[in-house]
Amino acid sequence: MDLDSLINFAYIVASILFIFGIKMLGSADTARKGNQISSIGMLIAVVAVLLTKGMDYTWIVAGLVIGSTIGAIAAKRVQMTGMPELVALFNGFGGLASLLVGWAEFAAHTDDSHIGIETGAAVVLTILIGGITFTGSIIAYLKLSGKMSGNAINFGGQKALNILIAVAIVVLGGIFATTGATWALYALIGLSLLLGIMAVIPIGGGDMPVVIAILNSFSGLAASAAGFVIANNVLIVAGCLVGASGLILSIIMCKAMNRTLGNVLFGNFGAATGKTGKVVEGEMKPASVEDAYYVLEAAQSVVFVPGYGMAVAQAQHAVKELAKILEDNGAEVLFAIHPVAGRMPGHMNVLLAEADVPYEQLAEMDDVNPIMNTVDVAIVIGANDVVNPAAVDDESSPIYGMPIIKVYEANTVYVLKRGQGAGFSGLVNSLFFRENTRMIYGDAKETITGLVTQFKD
């Protein structure tokens, strides 16, 4: 086999390793190994390219050493909490690198002849995508790290400006691809960088994770485009894999937030004329069944707090089953029964006895409140008034003074209810707005059954 074939063969191997890597990253048991496998793929690809004949290694070695050092230090030093922004930063570097590779290929093309329309188009794409990725990621980084306000930034004429930029990019791209004019290239670079900024600033800090996922997908596409520029398979394959899987991932992330991708990216974008985004202090945070599953899976103590909604949903059997699963999973499970939960004395007892919940797991309010702050997860199933902290902390509330089950002291609280419905008393429940509370909307039985299914899969 000649050297070229060998290198190409190595690329195939690297690509396969990337495929496995991504696949394995998608499941908890294999994720870490997947990451390692993909890193081996990367190593193979790098070694392979180094075998290319007729290279000057000076710069290469210098570049690798510098880059590795910086990367390693950053990765080691970063606080756990700082990881998301670091990923954003790295991502931006990747995008910029792709941009530069495209540019370099053009620059290396020293003779004055036109680089060809196909390569030209590839260069345009590389620069465009790479540029957006770079500045977009930087903005995301700034927002996440708090170096820039997390609020969505909107201003008048934003929409028009963006359209203008887009049109300009198309025109300039066309010019460059056909003529290879250097000025067009520079202009393109500038506009791409600008577009990245414009795209991300109107998005609120809370949506940044999705944005990073999208930009990650972009940085893959940028690499892929760079691959077209230099006609290199492994770039095309690996870049494209990342591009596609990143897109799917961002869609999944949106789903987990009960949003659509379009809503995240352009939610503020279109409607943005003068109106500034309002950040509600303490909002109701929805969660998906899947989110809850992962928290429950790791929980060591779980307290269920049933209310009238459990009766309406007839969720008692499902709840019993979930409790059983959690126990088998090593968690301590209690049912905290508030004396007035439901609509008749002993309402919850009737239901839980029907579902054959062991008596030992039924706890009275007074027994469970003292240990509530040691509880990992409290699951409020269609209860409302009986867990309303207003009874404790809002003297103006009509229920002030009523004893409640203090779920808000638990580490995490999931509240299962269908929507914004109030309880018997008709009061607003400030529990729902607490930092550690997540709302899982939907019929309680459906939700619980969903959780059970998660555990079974």
């Binding site: 009238y308 009766a311 007839q314 007035v340 008749m344 002993g346 309402h347 009737v350």
Partner: protein, 374 residues
């Protein structure tokens, strides 16, 4: 502060106002507790248990009445005993104030503070003192057990080698606290339960317990403060007719429909009863106030010509006296604990308080409750 729990005077009353647990709770609060000897006899509590809980057991009822700061009992007192109270003493019990104007006047005259437990407002906050609920709940349970023990058939369905035994059919009219518990108990035993109430939200609650809700279009039937409004005669007529069919198919009809402060409506009339099967039962939980059933006699049992037995006990919760005493006693001790002034160990009457405003009838020689001052 000295609290006295006399023995109930009504010979049919099996409950007591205080159980040993309650006595213990009060003495722990620093209150002197006195009970009349034999107070817990019929509810399963020996005098000795009260002593052990720190209460003083006395034989001298009159002395204790005259000496106590707070007198607690289940039923309204005999008129004669009101005068024996200390001036300014507090008397807590069911009073049936809408039907007992004379008794109220006697309290005012005696300068005693009469607290009527029926009048505790049905707010979420006051639920721990809500004796109407705590007793109605047990009454609902007891009514179904009574039915089951009186029926010639079993409640659940059984498909056996010797044929299928059909499930008993229950019809519950009035889905308040008692009605709900009756539904729950009958359902538990495997009966088929149909239920009706004028409050639409109550129908949803019945369904949450597995009953079939009978839906009758009666037009406007709003409720206020947890109680049903009185209905118009036309509405009652529509209701009676729609219910008759269900009654005819039912083995047991349990009625619990009360309207706060008024005579309960008569909802099951003779034509409906005549259509019922030989051996069927009708149990009326509103019998004391006049009953929801035509022909019911409070405190008695009547069998019609076509073999339907009408039961009109006045005290279903008394069938499970130990638990009934337990929760009644808890209601009263909760109330005392709630209002107790820790310092002075007294029960100050603050008529601005939401709860006291509702349930204090007389104070300082006057009738103070809005509902009775007109």
């Amino acid at each position: 502060m000295k609290i006295f729990a006399p023995k109930e005077t009504d010979p049919d009353e099996t409950r007591a106002a205080l159980d040993p647990l309650g006595a213990k709770k009060l003495t722990d609060l620093g209150i002197t507790v006195v009970v009349e000897a034999g107070v817990g006899e019929s509810s399963g509590h020996l005098d000795q248990k009260y002593s052990e809980a720190g209460a003083e057991v006395t034989q001298d009822r009159n002395a204790a009445l005259a000496d106590a700061d707070v007198v607690i009992r289940v039923r309204k007192p005999p008129a004669a005993e009101v005068g024996k109270l200390k001036k300014g003493a507090i008397h807590i019990s069911f009073l049936d104030p809408f039907n007992e104007p004379d008794l109220i006047d006697a309290f005012a005259k005696a300068n005693a503070t009469a607290i009527s437990l029926e009048m505790v407002p049905r707010t979420t906050l006051a639920q721990k003192m809500d004796a109407l609920s705590s007793q109605a709940n047990l009454a609902g349970y007891a009514s179904v057990i009574l039915a089951a023990s009186r029926m010639k058939t079993i409640l659940p369905m059984m498909m056996t080698p010797a044929g299928t035994i059909a499930p008993a059919k229950f019809f519950i009219v009035g889905i308040g606290v008692a009605g709900l518990q009756a539904i729950a108990t009958a359902k538990r035993l495997g009966a088929r339960v149909t239920a009706f109430d004028v409050r639409p939200e109550a129908l949803e609650q019945a369904e949450s317990l597995g009953a079939k809700a009978l839906r009758i279009d009666l037009g406007e039937t709003k409720s206020e403060g947890g109680y049903a409004k009185e209905m118009t005669p036309e509405q009652i007529k529509i209701q009676i007719e729609a219910q008759a069919k269900v009654c005819a198919q039912s083995d047991v009809v349990i009625t619990t429909a009360k309207v706060f402060g008024r005579k309960p409506p008569v909802l099951v009339k003779k034509p409906a009863i005549d259509q019922m099967q030989n051996g069927s039962l009708i149990i009326d939980l509103a019998a004391e106030g006049g009953g929801n059933v035509e022909g019911i006699v409070a405190g008695e049992e009547v069998t019609t010509k076509n073999g339907v037995t009408l039961i009109g006990l006045t005290n279903y919760e008394g069938l499970v006296p130990q638990n009934a005493t337990q929760v009644y006693s808890a209601n009263i001790t909760n109330m005392i604990e709630h209002f107790l002034d820790e310092e002075s160990k007294s029960f100050p009457i603050d008529l601005e308080d939401e709860i006291l405003k509702g349930c204090v009838i007389t104070y300082d020689g006057k009738i103070v409750n809005e509902r009775f001052t007109s």
